[in-house]
Symmetry: C2
Subunit: 615 residues, 2 copies
Amino acid sequence: MSFLIDFEPLGRRVACPPGRSLMDCARSQGIGVSSVCGGHGTCNSCKVQVVRGAVSPPTPVELKTFQQHELQAGWRLACQALPESDCKLHVPPESMTAAQRTQVEGLEVAVTPQPAVSAFSVDLAAPSSDDLRADSQRVVDALKEYHGVECRAVDVDVLRTLSDRLRSWDWKAQVFVRERELISVAGRPARLLGLAVDLGSTKIAGYLVDLLTGQTLAARGVTNPQVSYGEDVISRINQTLKSPTDGRRLRELVIEAINQLAAELCRQAAATVEEIADAVIVGNTAMHHLALGLPVGQLAQAPFVPAVSQALDIRARDAGLRLAAGTCVHFLPNIAGFVGADHVAMLLATQAGWATGNVLLLDIGTNTEVSLVRDGEIAAASCASGPAFEGGHIQDGMRAAAGAIERVRLDNGTVQYETIDGAPPVGICGSGILDAIAQMHLAGVLDDTGRMANRHPRVRSRDGRIEFVLVGENERPERRAIVLTQKDVRELQLAKAAIRAGIQMLLEASRLVEKELDRVIIAGAFGSYIDVASAITAGMLPPLLLDRFKQVGNAAGMGARMALVSRAEREKAARIASGVRYVELSGAAGFSRTFTAATYLGRYQLTGGKRKEAG
Amino acid sequence: MSFLIDFEPLGRRVACPPGRSLMDCARSQGIGVSSVCGGHGTCNSCKVQVVRGAVSPPTPVELKTFQQHELQAGWRLACQALPESDCKLHVPPESMTAAQRTQVEGLEVAVTPQPAVSAFSVDLAAPSSDDLRADSQRVVDALKEYHGVECRAVDVDVLRTLSDRLRSWDWKAQVFVRERELISVAGRPARLLGLAVDLGSTKIAGYLVDLLTGQTLAARGVTNPQVSYGEDVISRINQTLKSPTDGRRLRELVIEAINQLAAELCRQAAATVEEIADAVIVGNTAMHHLALGLPVGQLAQAPFVPAVSQALDIRARDAGLRLAAGTCVHFLPNIAGFVGADHVAMLLATQAGWATGNVLLLDIGTNTEVSLVRDGEIAAASCASGPAFEGGHIQDGMRAAAGAIERVRLDNGTVQYETIDGAPPVGICGSGILDAIAQMHLAGVLDDTGRMANRHPRVRSRDGRIEFVLVGENERPERRAIVLTQKDVRELQLAKAAIRAGIQMLLEASRLVEKELDRVIIAGAFGSYIDVASAITAGMLPPLLLDRFKQVGNAAGMGARMALVSRAEREKAARIASGVRYVELSGAAGFSRTFTAATYLGRYQLTGGKRKEAG
């Protein structure tokens, strides 16, 4: 008997025999939980949080290490705690030896800065018996007199520090004004900075931007800590509905992650969060709602409507974010319950690519958003592609972290693979799975229906389970093999069929066929790492010439930065969002027939529910 | 280790760590032991009797305050005595901050309602597969379609509850809109209510108003709980500067008091705080700053400027107030560091009374604000009248609570008095002191300089102290006598001279003399209880015919209500405030000579530094 232990945010599931510690279990599969002292409970570097399941009672060492409330929250040392049931663990970044690969780079679009916030220098006269004006009035008057700016209000958090600061700065200051409101003051010199955040279900990308030049000063990606509460947004929504406490916790986790991200970006750029006077956050609708504490119940049941779709300007403090005093955070608009502001940001960033012709845009993930533009008219849909591309529900699947197999080639019965960072193989991530399946199909190991042939030397049957051995026990001493099972193949078929069927439904709604597509723009972290040829061979993407595909990386992050530096871009985003025609796939006529046809492997064209061998 | 302290007759038991005073202990639990001086042992207002248990030896301050037999009976100052075991204390009524008489009534001015917030009923279509609009969009669209109202924003706290509420209300709701922002939703039927607060240093008056009719539905006064940190604003400011923790606590205390007041007003009117969609708060500048968490250091040192003078609209949640979701609280403008929004509100409410002629307006308290209007031109000053009118620094002084002597007549050597609520006499409050001094002056017990004659049967000398016996030991069994000492008379002379001199300085600044005053308007709780004839006889007010005086009660509360129900009144208040010419008295030429002349008792006219017997 073994317990199944889920290591989050890695997304690795490992079997652990009774009597072995969580650390033993991690090590047995090469999962990088930090251990400075070698497992003696003295270094505290292997702190993990048991989110679900039972473990042994705290040892004396742990009682010394943790406070009561930490133990109650499930914090333990991996080297001390022994699982007593199946468990889910949250491994915080500081307890990991290598971080998950998070993508922040991508498409770069130059935008003329036209920020929503302006900065002004003011030199004030100190109060005297002849000049008894209130401290804030002095600033307001100076703005009018020297800069022609008429302020109608001063944010209360500015007022709370202004008097003491002006005196300590000898009545010279940099002030930030947004929509005729004084939102922040800083000692001179101070920069005018902005924070752009692409809030993904599994990854959060942050950018620190100089709002006067538009230049990105620092960029950084971190794991969304909500993953320990559920891999996909649906499980997080359900968790929130089941337990309001968990809902609050989910919100706190992501907000604290953004706060830390902002602080870290500032460290990189030798700035302070007090210089961040504007921010833009984009995310899918569920992430948007969870981060703002908006209700999600209506997202989880038909007809799946958002609480709000319009763009929002929320005071940073009302969102729990620690930026300059009265900073407002701009949230780009959502399109529908499952097509969110991140998709709007992606459309904004790629506008030059879809302004003309017939263009398909994809952001592939647990949920895949697809837009089809025909002569500037946008139709969008959401495909429930599931967690397979993130390694979920896959025997040896994992997210894109060090040691993940990300490239696979079959060559005369031998397997060639590459891992992230060249580390010893630990599991296989989405792009590796897609490669493997394409290669197996080309080698005849998988037929068009996805059935695994038994005759290949690397195919074997274990416990009545047919599996393809990617890395054998002999190639990975003292560890078990890394395999792709028949069931894994089925999971991937469902995932890719959801996307392919979604594309097809949009094409039909726009009265187009696949070969009329002039361009296919693939955004997002996963989309930028996949081998497009493999995706076509696996039947996930239509069989077009490779030069029609463009992988643009984190385009949502670029869109967020564009909206950050320019009010005109915010308006453009609002226009784009309100112009999108949303196509609901669930229950749409013909969808299930198309979906079934799209589960097949191989290069083929799809028309209605029919496949046609690609030319 | 802590000692357990029983506060009787409250029946409160509180743990007190060693090294903390009984006052600290009382404060820690919000027990309202009075502290005029803020715990410096100078005001004698925190007298308590240690009935059981051991406390530290009497300090020099206490040895001076109490007679030997009082000390033997366990009388101590709560700010000086430190418990050394578990204790039981008797807190006499005169040392309690609670149960004080608070005034909410006064001048009533009818105003045509023109509220800043509007209420609309909306009946919405439920979402369906043909109508996937976001929940908030449905409301925004309905407002536009059925009411012609274009909302530009929806408050985030509305979004946080809207989806679930609309569903539970079957898509029918009452929505509140302020400046094109949707700030709250309620189930139908819901009223549109507002809260007006006059935030005084010792008293808080609250009014619940129907914003559609302008009708006051409930009114209530409570003691400002900050009084346990110091009766006057200066000691509270000093406390805040010394300890930021105490500053936060002061803020929390007053905000919580307003929250409770709002809840209680709602109970009286069978309403809920969720129906309160607008609020106006007025207070003196220090109270305004302390309640909003604004810095007060610059208020405490020359040239005494406020952090902010303009009117503020602060989101209720940013002020810590629990009202309808996105409600904004309007704070009327301040005029100067010691002439605040409460004075502006008073000027607003009394405008009809000062629109023509030469009019003097007074709000008498620890700090007395005076305005002089000449042909519509307003000059204002602040007089440091000190705590004597609140019973501070007066041997047997107390605030206007049950048992306080509020009226005194001398009749052939006998003293006739009235107490508040007709309760047995406990001490003497401001109006009583003023009466007593006027009567003593008329009877020749006090000469013009305030010196107490020794020959009156009720004048005696105790421990080298000359005192006038108001209530003798024989008239008040088992308690000591209630007296007015020579020192008490001096205290009152300083207090009333500050006011009289302030009036004189304003008259001179406007080139007027006292007899040219057409009207004198006296506002505020204290001002409405004083006997004007006594005030003239004591030389506090100029000797005009009594029919020129008008006591208007809580005019600031009326002004707050006017600004609450009408945007036009808010604008009027802003115009009044910006038109006031502030006259700084401290250091003004001739002030000290005028002040000295104004310390004299009797009916007299004042010109420059000279008194002239009144005709």
